[in-house]
Symmetry: C2
Subunit: 738 residues, 2 copies
């Protein structure tokens, strides 16, 4: 028997439950669409009160259908769905597509109804698409459940959380030669089947070359990352995730009932997983098509071939804007260009043919051949008017251009150097562009979109090269070498914040470098401890009940050995005056540190993507400028290192303003320790190491705060709303979270 | 007699000098294009060796033409151009269009040739377009000099520094219903006529509703700003300026020979002048069309009407991304929406009709009426599928949609609330969209471009409201109240850097608040001066020959009165050791200052736009993050105040991290003084006040450096390459620079 997801997305038999004799009803139109789309399997209308619909025999119940049903399309109203699913459960359906609205996206009542259908489905192994979905399509077999005709066939698999957006993408694709879809799934509320579960199907599907996702919010973003990382090794994935702004977030959650999350975190974890993220909806289809039709670009060096200085300059700007390079060409390439182009031409990159192709567009062929063969060049961009010479000058040039297109595409294919063409004449649909597209050379009207596509190809190529060095996103809690302090943490009741002493002990056990510290429980011990350290010390009251130690005057800096005793008394007095009920464990004593760059390392638990590590420079860099880097935990060393490279102000790490460069390895070690800690412990809601002092040869945590999740009980897995309950075998024995 | 620019852009008679009997030559094709474009004036071919070309009598010399010539189209090769211009000079031509290449854009020889033709032109009052131009077009009269046919007629005036880019824009416009051009000018090398000089013509031209410029580099950017500020009060100007990146800059200068300049400065001064700057070439035409067809948006509050949650969410994100707001609707509006939309709809902004228009798109009319009448709403954006209901559902909906379009446009027009429509069906060209466009409602396929257009309308609306408060860009050096120190500066030979003492005196005279300072010329005086100030002092050796005072150990901080005498001796010794030949004026003594936020105020002389003032926060904010604001000098108070609001880290000025807010008025005063200083003195190349300490109640300049332009001699006007030499009456009597 095939897997449920294969039976759903490639059904041989479809039952339409709620079939209708009334042509204005969805239960009638659904059958009509299947018939007009040429569905090559069986259609079984189900309705206890009809005999025949559109020439097909009608069955009173789905159980009466004469063969096994791969897909039950349920078009009855929401409140009737549970009873229909009960019927489906009695026979071996592959799965059901629930079209009705009025579930989790509405109110408490709807949420209860959604829980009910999910529970029926899981108890009976019936997989669900939806509810609140427009349906799904398999273009090749004609299994079209959405009632839209004219969906162009192609190599893109589309997963979409908005039916109208899917219509918009179908319409856009219909206007673009060579762009189309192999499948479409409206994931709806993701009540059962979620984004991640469709990915392996598309990876297997021969018709699908790239996967396109429009997402408002994931039910389980962590599972998506884990699966996407595997799928994207073979099949590129492009995501447009909306709900980036505050008002967009509000709009998204009222629409699908899912959380939209933080856009900066989403961008970071997508990149980490090799998912290409597109933030303009008008670039989604173009980028997906480029990834589907072109080899990944192995580098970021782009040669520009422009027929005019204006296009050459604009192309260079657009490439630079997106972080791509315009490298020097080899002398050989420049020489080859010189032999075919006029004196006025620029044979430096960006190359400007300067009229050298006006009489004879076949000159483009020689130029393209020279560029794709240049070892300095990873991809080539044509920009300007190619394909329009016939229209612009004389008709005789049209066949010349067309032949050139064929040869140019062949030259690119021979070297495996991706070639992308931007032409103002794209909108006039010249034959030359058809030839290019037939030979897998994409053509764009917009220069900016063409360059965005090159940037996506380069990002994907870079990821493919580095994928093995990046996080697996797997939260494996089964390993046994959890440190003792950590075990103590697990035993501790979840009651808010750890004291700084507890937090530092835990970090120390995880191998993070913390400034030496000792807990003094009385004034005499404070004096003794202070004397053990070289130089003056910092002293802070230790209390898990006090967050604002500075405001309470419960912190003293630059304390000498001699003053340690009296300082101890004073700090404790201040603390008790500030918060009489606080339980005080003593005073933490550490040597003073001042040399180095203040950085912040943190961890948080994203509502969609689970544990995430954060890095930034201290003070205003994080607080005002939000110049931070995120990665999903657990980090690899590569992940940690690239976080340091990602912040805008990273020049400071290299020793701007006359300071020495900091020790990146030491900082990487801190990031890895924090990553392991937050990955191991679902009961940790937040870690904030501020500051970490990064120096020439080390990095030391000066202050640490660890907040526990009051709602999470590490002994009880079911408390976690993100817990994937339907696949119990994927939950590690150790239990809990994500 | 009409002005030369009117005769050139709206010619009644055109002579083609270099006319040819050979149909493959430009001198033949030019005549053919004029004839086929229906040019309604006279055409006079000029060629000593022909009698008749395309049915027209040929004249041996332009002087032989039987009537006065408005425009001489010169298609002879570069080296022949000077002699042709001499002939033009003998009769009263309005001006000449020089097509040939091989001038300033090539080499020294070309530059000399360009200088020669400019000098002939100016001596004889013959205005030049080009050289290195594709020509110009007046669509209405058929005066088409560029040989491209099918240029769509419309209301945009196009000034373009790249002929091929003009072709691309013509082609793009031809594919967009309702978008076209009134005129085109290829400005070429701007050897004589420059960008700014065309603006008043377009302002007068009734056919032109917006001006579109593609610029690589301005010959005189300051003149453009000054003129654009006036023109943009009536006629919007959109600029796409390339050469933003380093490699783009190189490409631009090899193409037109002009300097491309700094992109951040260009963006800032364009905004100051009310010029809308577009950095994606694919948005240029769309933005220009929106500005030409729509009233400016008076605010930034946009209501979204989406047919689907996906479009609602994406639209909200796209608006937020571009700084626009999605305001709450009034209760009345929400009530009106509730009465026509289904329960599932969201009547909060962004509004999602949630299927409420599927059966009856006329529901859009009521929604649109409610939104355009809402007092919280400055503009309305439709996003989704409007115009596609007929195609998507049943044909009967098409007339309903079409009628709705008419009513929607009328509702928007009645309230003067701009309305922009984004529809996935734009590419299918439905009648409904034609109705919208005929009623001045623009329709876009791309959501991002639609929102960029709204953002441009809002920016233009804001500028129109504030234009009077902004800089005139006029550098009026005729006023007589130049301070004494400044007069001394003018008398001073231009020999590099002023000493800190001289710089601070000059700033003081210009009313900038400088920390109190005195020059001590010997150790005893240092002691006396230090005693006069409260508390410890800072001491620095004063020498115009020493730039690196700190490295020379020629600076001492926190010096007490008692130590002042010995410190004086020590600093002078250190300075002499470091740079034995430096002439030392003494030691500058100032009271120590520490409280406040360190900011940097600077001024520079941009190669295109002249004197520019800069503001940023001290240290890494400027050096690493480049978080700075620029404005063209002279500043108004409004300009100065908005600079403070523009930096990313401005939260720090408001007192982030527990600090008090700084006194913005005091900082504005410093900016205004620096602005006046740099505007008054062309001999100042650079001012660097770093730091200025901005406190709760004041702002004081702690350190000042003023660099003089070694090449500029204030007594000699002609030295300045940016000097507009051809319009001597615009140069103020006081003389010199910009």
């Amino acid at each position: 028997m095939r897997q449920p997801i294969d039976r759903l997305l490639n059904p041989m038999s479809i039952a339409v439950v709620g079939a209708s004799t009334d042509p204005s009803k969805r239960g009638h139109q659904a059958i009509e669409t299947l018939q007009t789309s040429g569905f090559d399997g069986s259609i079984y209308p189900v309705n206890p009160n009809a005999d025949e619909i559109r020439g097909l025999e009608v069955y009173p119940s789905i159980a009466d259908a004469p063969e096994s049903i791969d897909l039950a399309l349920i078009v009855v109203p929401g409140p009737v769905v549970p009873s229909v699913l009960e019927e489906c459960a009695e026979i071996d359906v592959g799965g059901a597509v629930v079209v009705a609205v009025g579930f989790g996206e509405t109110d408490d009542e709807g949420e209860a109804l959604e829980e009910e259908i999910v529970s029926i489905a899981r108890e009976n192994d019936v997989r669900l698409v939806g509810p609140n979905t427009s349906g799904l399509i398999n273009i090749d077999t004609g299994a079209n459940l959405i009632g839209a005709d004219g969906v162009p066939e192609g190599d893109l698999g589309l997963l979409c959380q908005s039916g109208n957006l899917a219509i918009a993408l179908f319409t856009e694709a219909a206007g673009r030669e060579g762009v189309g879809f192999s499948h479409y799934v409206g994931v709806g509320n993701e009540a059962d089947l979620q984004f991640d579960e469709y990915l392996p199907f598309f990876e297997r599907a021969e018709e699908t070359e790239a996967i396109v996702c429009y997402v408002e919010g994931f039910s389980d973003g962590r599972a998506f990352l884990e699966r996407a990382r595997e799928t994207s090794r073979e099949t590129p994935i492009v995501v447009c995730k909306s709900g980036r702004s505050a008002v967009g977030k509000r709009s998204a959650s009222s629409h699908t009932g899912s959380l939209a999350g933080d856009a900066a975190i989403a961008d970071a974890v997508f990149r980490q997983a090799g998912v290409i993220s597109v933030d303009r909806s008008d670039e989604l289809l173009a980028v997906a098509d480029a990834l589907a039709s072109q080899p990944p670009v192995d580098g970021d060096n782009v040669a520009v071939l422009a027929d005019g200085g204006g296009h050459a300059t604009l192309a260079a700007d657009a490439l630079a804007e997106r972080g791509l390079s315009v490298p020097r060409l080899t002398e050989q390439t420049r020489h080859r260009l010189e032999t075919v182009l006029p004196d006025a031409a620029s044979v430096e990159n960006p190359v400007d043919v300067a009229g050298g192709t006006d009489d004879d567009p076949s000159v483009f062929t020689d130029c393209a051949a020279a560029l794709v063969e240049d070892p300095n060049v990873d991809a080539v961009l044509f920009s300007g008017l190619f394909g329009g010479y016939g229209e612009r000058f004389t008709d005789d040039l049209e066949p010349v251009e067309r032949a050139a297109a064929q040869e140019i595409a062949a030259a690119a294919a021979a070297t495996d150097t991706p070639l992308v063409v931007q032409s103002a004449y794209e909108s006039t649909d010249p034959e030359t562009h058809t030839v290019l597209r037939e030979n897998d050379v994409p053509v764009y009207e917009s220069l900016d979109i063409a360059v965005t596509c090159l940037s996506a190809l380069s990002e994907y190529g870079t990821h493919r090269r580095l994928a093995d060095e990046k996080s697996s996103f797997e939260l494996d809690r089964s390993h046994t070498d959890v440190p003792a302090g950590a075990r103590a943490l697990e035993e501790r009741a979840s009651d808010g914040t750890l004291s700084e002493y507890e937090a530092k002990r835990l970090l120390d056990e995880y191998g993070a470098s913390v400034t030496p510290f000792e807990l003094a429980e009385d004034a005499a011990e404070a004096e003794r401890v202070a004397a053990e350290f070289d130089g003056p010390v910092a002293m802070k009251v230790v209390s898990a009940d006090m967050v604002h130690k500075t405001e309470a005057d419960a912190v003293a800096l630059d304390v000498t050995d001699e003053a340690a005793r009296s300082t101890y008394e004073r700090l404790c007095e201040n603390a008790r005056a500030y918060e009489p009920d606080a339980s005080i464990d003593g005073v933490l004593v550490s040597p003073m540190r001042t040399d180095g760059v203040e950085v912040i390392v943190g961890a948080t638990r994203d509502e969609q993507f689970g544990p995430v590590v954060m890095f930034g420079l201290g003070g205003v860099f994080v607080e005002v400028l939000e110049d931070v880097a995120f990665r999903g935990a657990p980090l690899t060393e590569h992940d940690a290192r690239t976080m340091l490279e990602e912040i805008d102000a990273q020049e400071i790490l290299d020793g701007a303003r006359g300071n020495p460069a900091i020790d990146r390895d030491a900082l990487v070690d801190v990031l890895l320790a924090v990553s392991q800690l937050v990955a191991d412990h679902p009961e940790i809601a937040e870690i904030d190491l501020n500051p970490v002092l990064a120096g020439e040869g080390d990095a030391e945590i000066l202050d640490a705060s660890i907040v526990l999740d009051a709602e999470s009980d590490p002994t009880d897995e079911t408390d976690d709303p993100d817990q994937p309950m339907y696949e119990p075998d994927t939950v590690p024995d150790g239990g809990a979270d994500e």
